[in-house]
């Protein structure tokens, strides 16, 4: 197992009607690695995540987790050890923080209907263990003081962290994060970065989609650039940053944004290095 990459996507394509959203995108992720996925809006990043997690069935290509092909169903994928968060936070808004994490524990719990009905000793043990683990994870992401709040009442940044805790509760070997810092201020972003490092340190491989290229370049071991459903560049942050095609890819954007991107790409290395 250890020899196989943690996650491997082979030439994944996705076609909606006549629209080719993804075209032969491949990705490889070693154990304990953080890989960034960047690209302009509509490049197909989230579609790619959906294909990995079984929410979409790719038109062609395959996805392997630890060398085993993943089934095409989101529930099975999660059971196999691939967890994700969502670009537009999708918590269970009227459940408490703790319950949200317990939902993540679902796949690792064993109680069947009968056991749930009777609440026997075995059930109680399992339930206690699940709560313990959930509290550990809330502690890990720094939310233990709000475990009884309804998740809808959490501030934005906390909701993002709760989503990560919920995903971690499924005991994944690979974690997919869809724009984990979107809408965060610099302090929160920094905290998120540290959190992702700590997740990595527990042996979980992480794939991150992010618009904030600075964030990506200072976080990831390798970076993949998607443009219009095609894999443009793949390499270390340094390689990607230096690639002229990446700058070009962002040129289809409004002037201010291009300006910002160009600045980030050219100056980002120095700042990023200091940040690390």
């Amino acid at each position: 197992m250890s020899s196989a990459p943690a996650l491997q996507a082979r030439e994944v394509s996705m076609v909606f009607g006549g629209l080719r959203a993804l075209n032969n995108v491949s990705l490889e992720l070693a154990k304990g690695q953080i890989v960034g996925l960047i690209g302009p809006n509509g490049a197909g990043k989230t579609t790619f995540f959906n294909c990995l997690t079984g929410l979409y069935t790719p038109t062609s290509g395959q996805v392997l987790l630890g060398g085993t092909q993943l089934p095409g169903d989101p529930a099975e994928v999660t059971t196999a050890g691939l967890a994700r968060t969502f670009q537009n936070i999708r918590l269970f808004p009227s459940m408490t923080v703790l319950e949200n994490v317990l939902i993540g524990r679902h796949v690792r719990m064993k109680q069947g209907p009968l056991s749930s009905l009777l609440h026997g000793p075995a059930f109680q043990r399992g339930e206690r263990a699940a709560r313990e683990r959930a509290r550990e994870l809330l502690d890990f992401v720094g939310l233990s003081r709000v475990e009884d709040e309804l998740s809808r009442n959490l501030p934005y940044g906390d909701q993002r962290r709760l989503e990560i805790a919920r995903a971690l509760a499924t005991d994944p070997s690979v974690l997919l994060l869809d724009e984990p810092t979107a809408g965060m201020n610099p302090q929160e972003t920094e905290a998120a970065r540290q959190l992702i490092f700590r997740i990595r340190d527990t042996g979980i491989s992480v794939v991150v989609i992010e618009h904030d290229t600075k964030f990506i370049f200072t976080l990831c071991d390798r970076v993949t650039v998607l443009v219009q459903g095609e894999l443009l560049v793949e390499g270390t942050p340094e390689e990607v940053r230096g690639d002229p095609r990446v700058v070009e890819a962002y040129l289809g954007k409004p002037p201010e944004e291009v300006q910002a991107v160009v600045e980030e790409i050219t100056h980002g290395s120095a700042e990023g290095a200091s940040g690390e």
């Binding site: 929410l55 979409y56 969502f86 670009q87």
Partner: protein, 306 residues
């Protein structure tokens, strides 16, 4: 047997035309506000009573004899009552729940349905049991080869098809129609484009009520009696037709209605159980269609957004 089949097809088409007038209202309202307006069947019912009331209390005795004057006036009366009830229902019961979860307006709709049925029974004179409805139309049936159809049935089919076509044109061509389609697809964007969703919803309810009102009066002329229960049963059929055709689609609702009319009447002669089980077959068909084509025959394909 052939004659019976032809006759049943004719019966099915007439029944389908009737259902279509109600189904269009279901489908329009659902398309705009994603609400199963269970009370829409009752709008149809009050339309029929509105037509009867017009005949009983408004029309002068000599006008009652002239069907081409009396019938349009009764239709007008029925439509006015339907529209008023429907708009009141929207304003009082549904609008405050616009942002509530879906279950809330659905249950409200059930409540409104029961309320209207009972209100008519209790407060319309003698409506505790079936009321005769005047046959203000040509009463001699038409005989076409093996098929006999009441003239009122032909009228029903004609009116139903014409109204469906007009509605389709209105939704496709007019300014308001475009606003409706925009609201149906994405209410938020529609609002940003300067469309007033309240107005669109009110117009939608009104259009549904007009069709139901016309349907109610023509139903009375065709069947010759009405009671406070006609809305529920025909409403369930109409809703089933709308779902069958793919709710939200005008074409689907009309075709779904004709399918239901035909299934009901052909089941009488062709399927096991005969007349005792005819509408069981409608529901069986509905379940089968929904299981294999969850969006109905003409509904939009399911979109999953993550």
């Amino acid at each position: 047997m052939f004659a019976t089949l032809m006759q049943q097809i004719a019966n099915g088409i007439v029944f389908g035309a009737l259902i279509a007038l109600v189904a269009l209202g279901y489908t329009m309202v659902y398309g705009i506000v994603q609400l199963i307006n269970f009370a829409h069947g009752e709008v149809f019912m009050v339309g029929a009573f509105g037509g009867l009331a017009t005949y009983t209390w408004v029309l002068p005795a000599d006008v009652k004899q002239i069907w081409y004057v009396a019938l349009p006036l009764m239709v007008l009366g029925g439509v006015v009552v339907s529209v008023l009830i429907s708009l009141a229902m929207e304003r009082i019961a549904y609008r405050p729940l616009r942002n509530a979860p879906r279950l809330a307006p659905l249950i409200t709709a059930l409540g409104v349905s029961v309320f209207l049925q009972e209100a008519v029974r209790l407060f319309y004179p003698n409506a505790t049991s079936a009321q005769p409805f005047p046959a203000t139309f040509i009463t001699t049936p038409l005989v076409i080869g093996p098929v006999t159809v009441p003239a009122s049935g032909i009228l029903l089919v004609a009116v139903s098809i014409v109204l469906a076509i007009l509605l389709q044109a209105y939704v496709n061509r007019s300014r308001m129609g475009r606003a409706m389609r925009a609201t149906a697809q994405d209410p938020d964007t529609a609002r940003l484009m300067g469309i007033n969703p309240d107005r669109v919803i009110v117009v939608t309810f009104a259009i549904g009520a007009v069709l139901a009102g016309v349907g109610g009066v023509l139903y009375g002329v065709y069947i010759n009696n009405i009671d406070n229960q006609i809305g529920f049963q025909n409403g369930v059929f109409a809703f089933t037709a709308a779902v069958l055709g793919g709710i939200g689609s005008i074409r689907g609702a009309v075709i779904g209605s004709f399918v239901i009319g035909l299934v009901k009447n052909l089941a009488d002669v062709l399927l096991p159980g005969g007349t005792a089980y005819d509408y069981v077959w409608i529901f069986v068909l509905l379940i089968v269609v929904l299981v294999f084509a969850p969006q109905g025959l003409f509904g939009e394909a399911e979109r999953v957004r993550a």
